[in-house]
């Protein structure tokens, strides 16, 4: 709301013009709103659209790059793991083909083979065992004491017997150390076959996967097809633990999927089923971490959008307010001028009408006057009526009434005549008295106490009598409207600066609220709307005071009264100098 107070244009709270006059003026709010919405829309919309398109395009580009990278890591490592398994299977296969069962039953020979394997393949082979068709381990070399173990009936053994090869998943077994087993079948006979069984440490997998440099708090590990971890992971548990993520669906290719972990963080998971063993390779990255570089780009984009939008909006608001303000000033000037002219024309018409009415009435009044006068004369001359008080009284009353009517018409004529007056020497007291004479009847009826204080021998000065008269008439009328019946109006005239006379009108009426005070001289501003006020009185007064080269001040307190001070120059301004 505070922001609105800053950007709100000065004409926003302008009240509606007086009824019936609004058609003269534009709706500034509407023009301003239209200007702001149109220019704002036209300039901001493309900016927003471009930024949003750019935003999504960049987001997609960055996302797909990470996906590609994840896929690449998974498939590279899958190849390494597959190769590792294939190589070892092939080595065992070679051994069973290259050696007879008798050779392999020889512990020395078997120990040599294990040593050779260790030399050729690096780490990995932990032990070697030879198991006959009945499932008994007939020879064993390795760190554990497993000679004579009976494997008959075990699933893997059956599998080797049937398919010739078995790759186990990782298990603890008798030795309580995680390991895996590769077993191949030797011999051709169904009854006299044997199995060469090698236990492999999972260390090579571990070092392969743990050495991977993975961004985004990445993790790479193997699981078996039941979702049990086959190598330790950084974030999802140790070896042989249950993976707290859903098991990925089988596909023959490297695949990506998106999941959430227990903490609700988004994960990007790349996986691959490894055909050579019961394993699934998984690379898991936190999306949030991955997208960190994107966050910076995104922030830059948003800041750019906000800064541009703010600059554009500021310029648009400023420009719109400036333009509409210019329109408003011109429009109000035009309307005010129009109404000054209208008012002047109206007053001139009233003046002409009053003059002609007064003239037409004065003629018959004069006839009545003379006829009654003659009657009076005759009564006084004729002896028989000389003492008829009743008749004489009647005639006197006719003459007195004619005199009264004559005073009224003369006042009217004077007033009308002054409307057309030019600059002349005026006695300000006389002008005020004339105005009071003109509207004094109302004051009398409403018991308004009017006091006029003019210093004695106040010097006359040059001024436009007609305008002065209208100014005073308007202000006094205004005071009459403000005061209650029985109220007071004090009028004082003082000489102020050398070239100015100030006329002060002080009433004890209802007063003008602070917020209205600044606007009472605006055209159409009226608090009496609907009660016959046009909102023109004081604006016209203001215009007239300016025209005679003076100025007007107003002070008011609600409930206490109002004071108008009219400063009148004592040297009339020439027509060419008038505003």
């Amino acid at each position: 709301m505070n922001l609105w107070r800053i950007i709100k244009p000065p004409f926003w709270d302008r009240g509606e013009a007086a009824p019936g006059t609004s058609h003269h003026q534009f709706d500034y709010r509407r023009i301003w709103k239209l200007a702001v919405i149109l220019t704002g829309g036209v300039s901001l919309l493309p900016l927003i659209v471009i930024t949003v398109v750019n935003y999504t395009a960049m987001q997609r580009a960055i996302e797909s790059e990470f996906q590609l990278r994840a896929v690449r890591i998974v498939s590279n490592n899958r190849r390494a793991i597959s190769f590792f398994l294939t190589e070892r299977k092939a080595a065992l296969d070679f051994i069973v083909h290259d050696n007879s069962l008798e050779d392999l039953k020889n512990p020395e020979r078997l120990a040599n083979i294990l040593a050779d394997l260790g030399r050729s393949f690096g780490g990995g082979f932990v032990d070697l065992g030879v198991i006959d068709a009945s499932g008994h381990q007939v020879n064993y070399v390795g760190p554990y004491r497993l000679e004579g173990k009976d494997y008959s009936g075990q699933e893997w053994f059956e599998q080797v017997a049937e398919y010739g090869v078995h790759v186990s998943d990782v298990f603890l077994g008798f030795r309580k150390v995680p390991h895996m087993v590769i077993a191949v079948k030797g011999g051709t006979d169904v009854d006299s076959f044997y199995v060469l069984r090698a236990a492999l440490s999972i260390r090579p997998f571990e070092s392969l996967l743990s050495n991977l440099e993975l961004s985004g708090e990445g993790d790479a590990f193997l699981i078996n097809r039941e979702g049990v971890l086959q190598t330790p992971s950084r974030h999802y548990g140790d070896v042989l633990g249950e993976l707290p993520l859903p098991l990925p669906k089988y596909t023959p290719q490297t695949q990506l999927m998106e999941e959430r972990n227990a903490a609700g963080e988004e994960l990007l998971i790349g996986y691959r089923y490894i055909e050579e063993g019961p394993f699934i390779l998984m690379v898991v990255k936190k999306k949030k971490e991955l997208m960190k570089p994107w966050d910076r780009v995104r922030l830059e984009l948003i800041v750019f959008l906000l800064v541009s939008a703010t600059v554009i909006l500021t310029v648009i608001l400023g420009m719109s307010t400036y333009m509409v303000r210019r329109i408003q000033v011109a429009d109000e000037k035009r309307v005010a001028t129009l109404h000054q002219v209208e008012y002047a024309n109206k007053m001139a018409s009233i003046g002409r009408l009053a003059a002609s009415v007064a003239h037409e009435i004065n003629n018959p009044l004069a006839v009545i006057n003379e006829k009654a006068g003659l009657l009076q004369d005759l009564f006084k001359l004729k002896k028989q009526y000389e003492h008829d008080e009743r008749l004489l009284g009647l005639v006197d009353s006719v003459v007195a009434s004619v005199d009264r009517a004559g005073t009224i018409t003369k006042r009217l004529l004077n007033f009308a005549r002054n409307l057309e007056a030019e600059v002349e020497e005026v006695r300000i007291e006389e002008v005020i008295e004339q105005v009071l004479g003109f509207i004094g009847k109302e004051a009398e009826l409403r018991d308004i106490d009017i006091r006029l204080e003019v210093p004695e021998d106040f010097p006359p000065f040059e001024c436009d009598r007609g305008k002065l008269q209208q100014i005073f008439l308007n202000i006094i009328n205004n005071a009459f409207a403000a005061v209650e019946d029985g109220g007071h109006l004090n009028i004082r005239v003082e000489k102020k600066k050398p070239d100015f006379v100030v006329a002060i009108f002080e009433d004890d009426g209802c007063g003008i609220p602070e917020e209205d005070l600044a606007r009472i001289f605006e055209p159409f501003y009226s608090t009496k709307t609907g009660q016959g006020g046009t909102g023109l009185g004081l604006s016209i007064t203001y215009g007239l005071v300016q025209e005679i080269g003076g100025h007007i001040q107003v002070k008011s307190q609600v409930g206490k009264g109002t004071r108008f001070k009219v400063y009148i120059p004592t040297r009339a301004v020439g027509k060419e100098e008038r505003v």
């Binding site: 003059a355 003239h359 004069a366 006839v367 006068g373 003659l374 018409t409 003369k410 005549r417 007056a421």
Partner: protein
């Protein structure tokens, strides 16, 4: 003192003339400019009381005509006021003091007439 009253309102001049007569002033009257000028041929007047607004010739024009025929004659305008232009022309021609607005009391009128011709100025008396 001999006075000529000119006004297109016959009722007015008739009554006024009679009232003036009652006060010992010789008063003639006319309701048209033509009449008024005709009167000048046969009679001399000290002062003429003219209405400003009259058909054909206005009071001001009539005054000028009469001045030509009777130099030295004085004039007082009596008017229902009329327009600002009439007021200006009338006061310029006769002076503000002798431009009277109807209705005027008989005493004021007498005073003004005496003033303008010079006190007691009854040349024919």
């Amino acid at each position: 003192m001999r006075v000529l009253l000119v006004d297109d309102e016959a009722e007015l001049v008739e009554a006024l003339a009679e009232r003036l007569s009652l006060r010992g002033i010789d008063a003639d009257w006319a309701v048209t400019s033509k009449d008024a000028l005709g009167k000048l041929d046969t009679q001399e007047y000290d002062v003429a009381l003219l209405d400003v607004k009259m058909p054909k010739l206005s009071g001001i024009e009539l005054k000028r005509e009469m001045e030509k025929r009777a130099p030295g004659m004085k004039f007082i305008f009596l008017t229902g006021h009329g327009s600002e232009a009439d007021f200006r022309a009338g006061t310029a021609e006769a002076g503000v003091d002798y431009y009277l607005v109807k209705p005027v009391g008989i005493d004021e009128l007498l005073k003004k007439m005496k003033e303008i011709v010079g006190e007691g100025g009854d040349r024919h008396g």
